[in-house]
């Protein structure tokens, strides 16, 4: 009997070792006397020094295989050493199996993940270090009675590392600590479905740093083996969660063998913090829910017939609310964000898109044999994103997105390899991605409010209301910011055949999809480069310093109406070249404002015709410095070209370069002095712009007497007042009282101040395709500008 009990205990121990999460080097082994003090130890103790290796572990699915090569379980500190395990097993009075366990200095790793049908390609290696101490209790009877199990689990993980390694370079989460408690979890088998129900899972976690190593001699260590210094860090993370979840697992992939997972999760509360040198960017008071329907795992092929580990999704629906986005030393909030989304198969531009990720080996072809390629397809059927601050809410309604193409993931170091320039960090590559997104419109105040225009207000944040494009290029996220921790970005992005809306009408006004009308930059080719851009969280907010940035945006046609067939204003080309430009995003909007007038008090403001506004403590402030550098080459300069009168080619398409061009050449900023005496005009001031953005009520007056576009009648000069009881949701009021003024329409209120010392244009030319260039203006110099604006932008139906 004792042998039977011990055997059963060992089997559960194996389960615990295999599935329970992990942790720490700081923990000390318990000696025999210490063990005796652990309560309720009437069972047996198992002490194991575990060292295990396997050349290959394979998972077979319909004759195809995923292979984990170089598998090892052992010591994290000593590549030849073993991991310490102590498991104390006890059977309780209620026949429950109770385990107390302690795991020290354990590493689980594999050097390569390969697909049998794709020889020579590896997805790279993964390692997981941890110390773990916890309790596990298992008893019979699940949620459906005698056939299942119920278990409680609680553990603490310390000193964890989770890393990804390709071609000798690593990115890893360092110093992971985690506390998890899951009580009353049930496990049942119902009609061939394994049902896992977790009524409540509570946990907290922290990642001390995310580190990078470009030294092949380093493996799973926090300090460089050569210099002994700490490896550079992207910063750390922390968070907590309180969840309820129900998961169904069953056999059967999308095709033949495989695995299917369905899940419903309720997020009762959660938080997520990014830490950079002690400064925090925090997403707090998060709640929500999501449902994963029909997620399948297969060893299969992608749409190009390439061997893959396929994850295909039937549908995903959910909602996420973020109660506060805080940053800066004062802990002020930008406001609240809510996202409601439905992910599932859908048709865009007459093409069906689904949701799938096909994992393949290799990564970027020039980066080396190891790397990850994600053949990806997505379809966001619909999402509503809302932003609230100081109680005012704007909903960006009907967001849809679709795309298909390859992404590659490699950990790279700065070098030229196989003719390609790589940079230190995690490199995300884009290869042949055809994608797009579009917004239907705005709703103000509530989800069922009338759909309105106004999505073009997002242009202030650099976001087009609708955009379709083909994307290639790379984005490398390196460790370290402007100082200490942070992120350094080097990127090369190319967009072709782009069509982006500057102004966009709805694509569905309630009667099905229609051609989205707007002002479009179409036949767009964009080529942009960033070198040494740093991203940091500091005491004021989120700071971005661009380093060197240059780009060319060639708009084949600026169309009005339909994005494909609308009449064109001609071709526009915008070249930009900036050095050390910067942006700071910080919480808090304009505060108190005199809109439309002048004055520092309510009385003074209103005496000049202005409206005194208290815009509250939330909102956002964006501080921008753009330093336009002088031209150094045809690629690196600031210039603007407008071309019209192009000849049509054989296909009836205007041929670029055959028309007449107006060229504003070599546009640059300056300080107007040579303070450092180097013989050149200094250029450190640039164009400095402060934008304070709030969602706030604004005065909207009727411009003509009679019925408006919604049939609502009013006289010229009447004020628009929101009224949910009115058929159109609003009415016009000649002289609104106090109770009506609080129901003025919501919009975006922007307080802006832009200033520069000097802005120059070297020359303005007219260029004829055969007549050549003729200079119209031999120089423009603008000096000493300080422009201030209080603007409110309200969407209109």
């Amino acid at each position: 009997m004792a042998l039977v009990r011990a055997g059963g205990a060992l089997a559960v121990v194996g389960w615990v070792i295999a599935f329970v999460p992990i942790a720490g080097a700081e923990m000390q082994r318990l000696d025999e006397s210490a063990l005796a003090e652990i309560s309720g130890q009437s069972g047996i103790s198992v002490e194991v020094e575990l060292g295990m290796t396997a050349d290959r572990i394979s998972y077979l699915d319909d004759g195809k295989a995923v292979q984990l090569e170089g598998f090892r379980v052992g010591s994290a500190e000593d590549p030849e050493g073993r991991a310490y395990h102590l498991i104390m097993v006890d059977i309780g009075d209620d026949a429950a199996l109770n385990l107390d366990y302690l795991i020290e200095d354990r590493r689980i790793e594999f050097g390569d993940v390969r697909l049998a049908g794709a020889p020579g390609l590896s997805m790279g290696g993964v390692f997981f270090d941890h110390n773990l101490q916890g309790e596990f209790s298992l008893r019979s009877d699940g949620a459906h009675g005698g056939g299942g199990y119920t278990f409680d689990s609680a553990y603490t993980m310390t000193g964890g590392r989770l890393g990804y390694r390709t071609n000798g370079n690593e990115v890893f989460l360092d110093g992971i600590t985690m506390n998890v408690e899951a009580l009353g979890v049930t496990l049942d088998v119902v009609d061939d479905v394994l049902q896992l129900r977790a009524p409540r899972v509570v946990g907290s976690w922290e990642v001390g740093a995310v580190r990078f190593s470009g030294n092949p001699l380093n493996h799973g260590v926090s300090t460089d083996s050569g210099t002994g210094t700490l490896l550079p860090s992207y910063g750390g993370f922390a968070g907590h969660y309180d969840l309820t979840s129900a998961t169904d697992i069953q056999a059967g992939g999308r095709n033949g063998q495989g695995l299917r997972i369905d899940n419903q999760t309720e997020i009762h509360s959660a938080s997520f913090l990014y830490k950079d040198d002690g400064n925090v960017l925090a997403l707090r008071d998060m709640t929500g829910h999501y449902g994963i329907n029909d997620l399948r795992f297969d060893v299969t092929t992608d749409w190009q017939g390439r061997e893959s580990l396929g994850l295909t999704l039937g549908a995903l629906e959910g909602e996420l609310f973020i109660g506060g986005i805080e940053m800066g030393a004062a802990g002020k909030s930008l406001g609240q964000v809510n996202a409601r989304f439905v992910v599932g198969d859908s048709v865009f531009n007459n093409e069906r898109y689904g949701n799938a990720v096909y994992l393949q080996g290799g990564g970027n072809a020039d980066a080396g044999a190891q790397g990850l390629r994600l053949a990806t397809e997505w379809s966001l059927k619909s999402a509503d994103l809302s932003y609230s601050e100081d109680g005012n809410r704007v909903i960006f309604s009907g967001l849809q997105s679709w795309g298909r193409g390859d992404m590659t993931v490699d950990v790279t170091r700065e070098e030229v390899r196989n003719g390609t320039q790589f940079y230190d960090g995690l490199r995300i590559g884009f290869e042949g991605i055809r994608a797009g997104y579009r917004l239907n419109g705005l709703r103000i105040g509530s989800d069922d409010a009338q759909l309105q225009g106004g999505t073009e207000l997002l242009l202030a944040l650099g976001i087009y209301p609708a955009y379709e494009f083909e994307l290639d290029g790379q984005l490398t996220l390196g460790p370290g910011g402007a100082q200490g921790e942070g992120i350094t970005v080097n990127s090369d992005i190319r967009i072709s055949n782009g069509r982006a809306a500057i102004i966009a009408a709805p694509y569905d006004e309630g009667n099905g999809e229609i051609s989205q009308q707007g002002l479009w930059i179409s036949e767009l080719d964009y080529d942009g480069h960033l070198r040494g851009m740093t991203v940091d969280v500091n005491g004021e907010g989120l700071s971005i310093v661009k380093g060197e940035a240059w780009s060319s945006m060639d708009v084949g046609n600026l169309r009005v109406g339909d994005k494909l067939s609308g009449a064109s204003f001609g071709r526009f080309v915008l070249q930009k070249y900036e050095r050390d430009s910067s942006m700071l995003l910080s919480p808090g909007g304009a505060g108190t404002v005199c809109a439309g007038g002048v004055g520092a008090s309510e009385l003074a403001c209103e005496s000049t015709g202005g409206i005194w506004e208290e815009r509250g403590g939330e909102g956002m402030t964006v501080t921008i410095k753009q330093i336009l550098a002088r031209a150094v080459s045809d690629d690196k300069k600031n210039a603007f070209v407008w071309e019209t009168g192009r000849k049509l080619d054989a296909n009836g398409v205007p041929a670029n370069g055959t028309g007449t061009r107006l060229v504003l050449n070599d546009i640059y900023t300056g300080d107007g002095v040579d303070a450092d005496g180097n013989g050149l005009n200094d250029n450190s001031f640039g164009i400095q712009t402060d934008l304070a953005i709030d969602v706030y009520q604004t005065r909207v007056v009727k411009k003509q007497s009679g019925a408006d576009s919604q049939g609502v009648i009013g006289n010229r000069g009447d004020e628009k007042i929101m009224d949910p009881s009115a058929p159109a949701g609003y009415r016009y009021v000649p002289d609104p009282g106090e109770t009506e003024l609080v129901n003025r329409p919501l919009g975006f209120a922007v307080q802006a101040n832009s200033r520069f010392k000097e802005l120059s244009i070297n020359n303005i030319d007219l260029v004829h395709p055969s007549g050549g260039a003729e200079t119209l203006v031999y120089g423009v110099k603008m000096q000493n500008f300080d422009i201030r604006a209080n603007l409110t932008a309200t969407p209109i139906p």
Binding site: L457, V560, V598, G609, P795
Partner: protein, 183 residues
Amino acid sequence: MKTYLRASCLVMLSIFFVAKPVVAELSPISDRGLSEVSGQGGIYLSGDISINELGGPIENAYFGRCDNTEKKCGARFAYRLKENGGWMVLDDIRGNFAFEGLTLRIRKVDSGFGGDGEIFDRDVVELGLPNTVRFNDVQFNMAGSSTARPTDPGFQQTDIFSVEMQGSVVMEGNLLVFPVGNP
């Protein structure tokens, strides 16, 4: 070559000048009439804009804050039409203006306007003009200058005339912008 340049100038300028007569023939359409046009939606802008209300960012021998009467606190815009020639200057640009109800949207005109809309039948960018624009202390000087900067060596400047604007301007109706000719 000048012939070519003149022709190309005409092509580009026709976008503006051809558009005006077309618009001028159209009669206003009511707000209600717009309800039958698909793709409505846009933004309604109100606010105020000031230029160098207190002064600009440069403080030197020429520029200063506005409470310093010995220096100019406005902005300066200089350009020249001849290589190595003198500079035309808009100097000491200052002022404030406020407006209410500038609208921006895309609109398809295919009806109304006394029957002209059906013939017109095209998409336009519509700028709905604010009924009233208030100007406060708007001013600038027109001048000729020997140098781009007033602090450059050999600087000489001749002020030609000054402009000051105060009061309200009524701007009613819509400005419709649309392309014509070969893009």
